[in-house]
Amino acid sequence: MPEKRIESFDVKRLEILDEEGSVDKTLMPALSGEEIKSIYEMMLLSRAFDERALSLQREGRLGTYASIRGQEAAQVASAFAAEKSDWIFPSFRETGVQIALGYPIYMLFQYWSGDERGMKCPDGLNVFPICVPVGTHLPHAVGAAIAMKIRKEKKAAIAYFGDGATSKGDFHEAFNLAGVFSAPAVFICQNNQYAISVPLSRQTASSTLAQKAIAYGFTGLQVDGNDVFAVYKAAREAMEKAKQGGGPSFIECFTYRLADHTTADDSTRYRPVEEVEKWRGRDPVKRLRLYMEKEGLFSEEFQRHLEEKVQKTIEEAFRKMEEIGHPPLSGMFAYTFKKPSPMEAQQMKEFLSDGGG
């Protein structure tokens, strides 16, 4: 059927750092050696947290945990592009983001042990509590972004989510609002190829996730999600654009979850070992290290030093969590409303007198 062409769109992909650790210099973002080392450190720290959390879970000292292994570049490098004044809206698989932003690690342990005190973001940081219902936090980010615009504050609202989240109506309504209000929102999707057992091909018939932004009148870009420089550059530019009044952006970080969905999952039921192995070879941490070696930013001693530091940080955080201990039983009350209702007050009295349960 021959018709007039009235619009046309391209979808692009950004890659800077290849698997051998070489970069495309023309695309390289402005990052000092210290900054690159710092990103590397955060990636190690995130991975160490991840490993510790997995083993604590196995020992029954944490609840269900969602590993980020394989997604450290997408998380750390994008968070590194944010400023303290930005507002961050994480899903449940964002440990690397939280750590890179300086979220207290002992609080992450608290969260994963089932203690809401871990979600009381410290002042000076604006990290929303983890959102468990997939994709439903995206409208919050857009609302915060609209508020920033109304208040004329040069900040961005940054929302993280997975490939599965793109199928939710919340994703759609949030993206559409962001477009209409040209809100300073940055949407960062970690396309790790699966939503639990559902592969991307079952999640959507679109060939990229990035192209979904076309529906909302703004740009979607795919980046190699295991490439810290591509992720950083795309995130940084999107955040700057947002703060300059340029409106929202969508970044699809093409990556892979190397571990099970959560500690309650067994991923061998639904994906071939060879696929996992292939992606293991694309480890984002290793890739950055190769680059650093080439650039003289790396030494065995530096690595040892970092590993020790990171372990110490994790151990201290865990100890702190343990020292703080179990939340007070009355913690169930007092946060339903600012001022407890008479009903709640009465029930709390009963609870305290009979010990609950």
């Binding site: 509590p129 439903t136 409208p139 919050h140 980010a141 919340d170 309504e173 946060y335 008479p342």
Partner: protein, 320 residues
């Protein structure tokens, strides 16, 4: 002080709150240029501009979800859902987010949000324009629910809702929008959330109603020595006033517009059965819509509890 209808009373409240507090922002479908399909937001766009009177896309999840983000950021959003039957699109945002943000973040982030929505049958509207599902919201800890029964309570409750530090579902009885006029003070005044009021004092029977049923209940009460309670807030609700009245009268009839099963009347009856049973002379009776799918407009008059049905129940209760 002038006699105005509920639309006008609500409109006055919005004008005054927006005037006094630049954090207050109104948003929803058709709230701006059109002034709202019932004209409750009329004139706000002209006065406060498009950044504070926000016409949104047709997007209930987006509206409430964004309003949550705005509230957490420090604004005081007053979001409109065009009819209560369309609020379900935002149910996840309300039940999983608005109501829990304070608890989940241990008070670091809060949600001082008002969701206004016309509710109830009686204007012969199209399907899904007549719902009365306040019990859903009263069952969600962390949400408040307010229901004015006329212009005066509407203005005072809306002020409290806007300044409440927690999310409030604010239900406006569509049928009453233009039906009754009351004297409403020009100046701002607040009616506290969580408290009921005595619409009439009496000694022989306690009648409890809210929203659009109050008026019919008052009419049905004619000729009886009835204590009529206008609940005004369903969550938290003024159990103390209801129980006090029942302890005095020994009889109770509760009137709700919603289908009977699991409506808010059941909560009131259960509370009476738990805490005032020794004072009762007879059963706690409920007048409610039937447990059927809400009919289209030709049958709505038969569906909604009418004055006759309420009267019959009062008579039944008086027999004990």
């Amino acid at each position: 002080m002038a006699a105005v209808n509920m639309v006008k009373a609500l409109n006055m409240a919005l004008h005054q709150e927006m005037e006094k507090d630049p954090s207050v922002v109104v948003m929803g479908e058709d709230v701006g240029v059109d002034g709202g399909v019932f004209r409750v937001t009329e004139g706000l766009l002209e006065k406060f501009g498009a950044e504070r009177t926000i016409d949104t896309p047709l997007s209930e999840t987006g509206i409430i979800g964004a309003a949550i983000g705005m509230a957490a950021y420090g604004l005081l959003p007053v979001a409109e859902i065009q009819f209560m039957g369309f609020i379900y699109g935002a149910f996840d945002q309300i039940a999983n987010h608005a109501s829990r943000l304070r608890s989940r973040s241990r008070g670091r982030f809060t949600c001082p949000l008002v969701i206004r929505t016309p509710y109830g049958a009686g204007i012969k509207a199209l399907e899904i324009h007549s719902e009365s599902t306040e019990a859903f919201f009263a069952h969600i800890p962390g949400l408040k629910v307010a229901v004015p029964s006329g212009p005066y309570t509407a203005k005072g409750l809306l002020r409290s809702a806007i300044h409440d530090p927690d999310p409030v579902i604010f239900l406006e009885p569509t049928r009453l929008y233009r039906m009754i006029r009351e004297e409403v003070p020009e100046e701002q005044y607040a009616i506290p959330l969580g408290r009921a009021r005595k619409a009439r004092e009496g000694k022989a029977i306690t009648l409890v109603a809210w929203g659009s049923m109050l008026q019919r209940t008052m009419k049905a009460a004619d000729g009886f020595d009835a204590d009529v309670i206008d609940l005004m807030s369903l969550s938290p609700w003024d159990a103390e006033m209801v129980l006090g009245s029942v302890r005095k009268t020994g009889r109770a009839v509760i009137v709700q517009e919603a289908p009977k099963t699991c409506g808010f009347a059941s909560e009131i009856a259960a509370t009476i059965a738990e805490d005032a049973i020794a004072y009762l002379r007879g059963p706690v009776l409920r007048v409610a819509a039937y447990d059927v799918v809400l009919p289209f407009s030709k049958l709505e008059d038969y569906y909604m509890p009418g004055i006759e049905r309420i009267k019959n129940k009062i008579e039944e209760a008086m027999r004990y």
